[in-house]
Amino acid sequence: MQRVGVFVCWCGSNIAGTVDVEAVSEALKNEPGVVFSTNYQYMCSQAGQDMIKEAVKEHNLTGIVVCSCSPRMHEATFRKTAAAAGLNPYMVEIANIREQCSWVHKDIPTGTEKAIILGKAAVAKVNLNTPLTPGESPVTKRALVIGGGIAGIQTALDIADAGFPVDIVEKKPTIGGKMAQLDKTFPTLDCAACILTPKMVDVAQNENIRIFSYSEVSEIKGFVGNFDVTIKKNARFVKEDICTGCGACVEKCPMKRVPNEFNLGMDNRSAIYIPFAQAVPKVATIDPNSCNMLKNGKCGLCAKVCAAGAIDYTQKDEYINEKYGAIVVATGFNPISMDKFDEFSYNQSKDVITSLEFERLTNAAGPTAGHLERPSDGKSPKTIVFVQCVGSRCDACAEKGKEYCSKICCMYTAKHAMLVRDKYPDTEVYVFYIDVRTPGKNFDEFYRRAVEEYGVKYVKGMVGKVTPEGDKLKVQASDLIEGKQLHIDADLVVLAAAIEPDKSARPLATMLTASMDTNDFFTEAHPKLRPVESPTAGVFLSGACQGPKDIPETVSQAGAAASKVIGLLAKDKLTGNPCVAHSNELMCNGCSSCERVCPYGAITYEDKEFRMPDRTTKIRRVAKVNPAVCQGCGACTVACPSGAMDLNGFASNQIMAEVDAICK
């Protein structure tokens, strides 16, 4: 039996004005377990807290009920008081007789009667309280960043700067991501490579950072602080540590007609290749699908010319196991496929391109060395039409695009249009838009400059169709302001394709038990207050894997994710919330109902041996809750048919005791 002390607070006149506090403390004296009951003006004051501490000592109290304001207000305070008095802090219950009683009821008899009932419920509950101790788990002081674009790079650099080791896993042969493919960046027009490549070098040179390029995450086990990850290093047939990146092999490789994915297939590369000059790691990779030596054993030229002897045709995929305390997802985005948008003739004409292709076309390191030339005949275009919102903001039932706004297109299209007019003032540039969305620092000014200083023709309306005719592209569009249908003979049409999360995100989310929305963007733990954390503890989100983002936003989110990771890794031990679920294995059926409703993947199963009454043993599958992962929602307790699953702090018998006390 508990020895319960009841402390009724007046809260000045806040409670005492509508509740007869004397009557409440008097009435609660007779409740089971109560050995002491009193009231005081301000229970939360130092004097009030001292009163509690003294009473604990004097009456050997094992449980405390404070009838006062909301537990959301002072539960923590009184728990500390209890701890200071040598009690377990979880032996405190609060009866909310201010917000939910004295403040909402007018007359004293009603208020007093309800306060007594609320007090009784709290006493009934505290009688069944058990001391709780938060669980502790160690933290592996190493972080994993999945994805080596600007988001992953920035996150890794920030974590490494704080002194923690970080591994980056990138599926491409080099880090850099989409930003490495861009020409200039809005709204300042600095060149993407000039600001990105130094960061890539920083990554390569940072002692705390390891890069696993041309690699994928193949398995994730464990939980916050203790992830166990298997990384698959795909065979690149070049010894990374020996290759100097001299490029002799690339030059000699006879297989030179492989579409170059870095330039989106607008030119060719060789079978052994380095994606671009500033690649990190600057190491060659052999594409096994096009290398003659790997396909049929004939060639081997690259091995002959490699002075360092780095080529190894027998290299196999390698699996690496590593432990991490935190995982950052930075898997990024891709433009959607234009296959379903026949009206723009993307697949019919080479001169209809996406904006990312346009970036490569204007990039000095791109297939045209930065000269704006039409992909079909290399002529310089005189009329360019930009189409916005291609596949963005589509109705779900239209089934070919995305429902959301891709966010970055308005700004990069303004940038493209402006750059064209700047370099080639005799080119006519049309931008067809539905809305121009420019929230961001210096964004609208940038767009206005495109119109006012550079003379880009912005037309409110959508392009209906693009038809190749001769060497022209017939563009039919509406001008909603002037109320006419426009027919433009264009030389180049640029589509602002919607962006979508990378395809690797979905299987990764499954491995992480991290939740995703219907568009395959990762869900954040709270849309406003915890935007860089996944609901799964220890998993953080960086960049466009969480939603469409531009570079400044990505970088700031990357930094925020890094600071969350640093905060986690700085701890030696993780102290959990002790109000977590636990399973009584004697009653557990192993039916998996609880596991299915757990939003955190905190429940696993193990085969356990039980001794039966007849001295035989029996092996049964039983649920096990990982207290470091459980957040204490209690969904599992209701899903469990046998009642084996219960929740600390809100146990079934405690809640039923409260119900009984109220319904007496």
Partner: protein
């Protein structure tokens, strides 16, 4: 009037025993009377020949027995499963309640089983012998000289009249012909009660449930009730067994029981079959099944192994409880 014969089953069981495929057979054996067929583990051919029966009274759903039988037995067990039993079989596998490798399941066709209460209502007590005669049963009682002729169709169990499937959803081997899932009218009776006024519904259930003697037969026979420790047997649960007292207690017991199996109940009808007080308990389970089908889309528990039960699942667009009633009011 079963199409497959007792001898065929004995032969099958004996051959599987002798070739070592299985080490025991879970089957039906004759009880004290012709109609109280009892489950039994057979381990020898002699035992099979002597005691194994297969007739119109073999209603027992063996799936549940596998939970305890496989636990305490080292070898492999042969089990005969009627189509409706196979759903429970799958559901228990979904819940990891027994090991599939320990069981050799033989699917057998079923033409429906006889409701002993219905039979006795025609013939009276004191049944001493039951013989098959075409589509009829010839029932001899100790009180009458001549046997009474009862049409098989007239004394079928409710669950067999509204049979939902003649198709086996799980087996290692199938005897006889495979059937189809049937468009049954099993929800009609639920709909009838739904159409009553609240007062009528209350009176209906008050009448039915007040007969409950809390014998727990429904729970003990239910293949979804395989908890290691049932909440009604657990003094800590707050709902432990109490003596019946013609009040809310019985309703609470039956609501909680139906709720605990909701989404997992395959509608096998064992609860109503075994109820000594003839309470239509299956209606409570069917109500949940009907609601789940209407609110969240058709779902048949046990149709496949590993499916996610509707109550441990959700969509963001689910109906609100209030909308459930609004919709019903509009339909009415």
């Amino acid at each position: 009037m079963q199409k497959i014969t007792q001898n065929q089953l004995i032969e099958k069981a004996a051959s599987l025993l002798s070739d070592g495929t299985v080490n025991a057979v879970l089957g039906w054996s004759r009880g004290e009377f012709g109609y109280d067929v009892t489950p039994k583990m057979f381990k020898t051919e002699e035992d099979l020949k002597e005691n194994f029966v297969w007739n119109d009274f073999c209603g027992v759903n063996f799936s549940k027995y596998l939970v305890s039988k496989t636990d305490r037995f080292d070898g492999k067990i042969l089990v005969f499963l009627k189509p409706c039993d196979t759903y429970s079989f799958n559901q228990l596998l979904t819940e990891h309640r027994f090991e599939r490798e320990k069981v050799y399941a033989v699917g057998i066709p079923c033409e429906g089983m006889v409701d002993v209460i219905k039979l006795k209502a025609v013939t009276g007590e004191g049944i001493s012998e039951i013989k098959e005669d075409g589509e009829n049963l010839l029932v001899t009682t100790i009180y009458e000289d001549a046997p009474v002729k009862v049409a098989f169709k007239d004394v079928l169990l409710e669950r067999c009249i509204n049979c939902k499937s003649k198709k086996h959803v799980a087996y290692d081997e199938l005897m006889g012909d495979e059937g189809e899932v049937i468009e049954s009218k099993r929800f009609d009776e639920v709909a009838k009660i739904e159409a009553m006024t609240p007062d009528e519904r209350f009176a209906f259930w008050q009448n039915e449930l007040s007969r409950c003697i809390r014998c727990n037969a429904c729970r003990d026979a239910c293949p979804a009730c395989t908890c290691e420790k049932c909440v009604f047997d657990n003094p800590q649960s707050g709902v432990e067994n109490k003596a019946p007292a013609n009040s809310f207690e019985e309703k609470m017991f039956h609501i909680i029981r139906a709720y605990h199996v909701a989404g997992r109940c395959t509608d096998c009808g064992e609860c109503s079959r075994v109820c000594p007080q003839n309470i239509p308990l299956h209606l409570l389970n069917r109500k949940f099944i009907k609601d789940i089908n209407e609110f969240y889309g058709e779902y048949q528990a046990g149709a496949e192994v590993g499916s996610r039960a509707p109550l441990v699942d959700y969509t963001t667009e689910d109906l609100e409880p209030g909308e459930v009633f609004d919709r019903r009011d509009i339909d009415a």
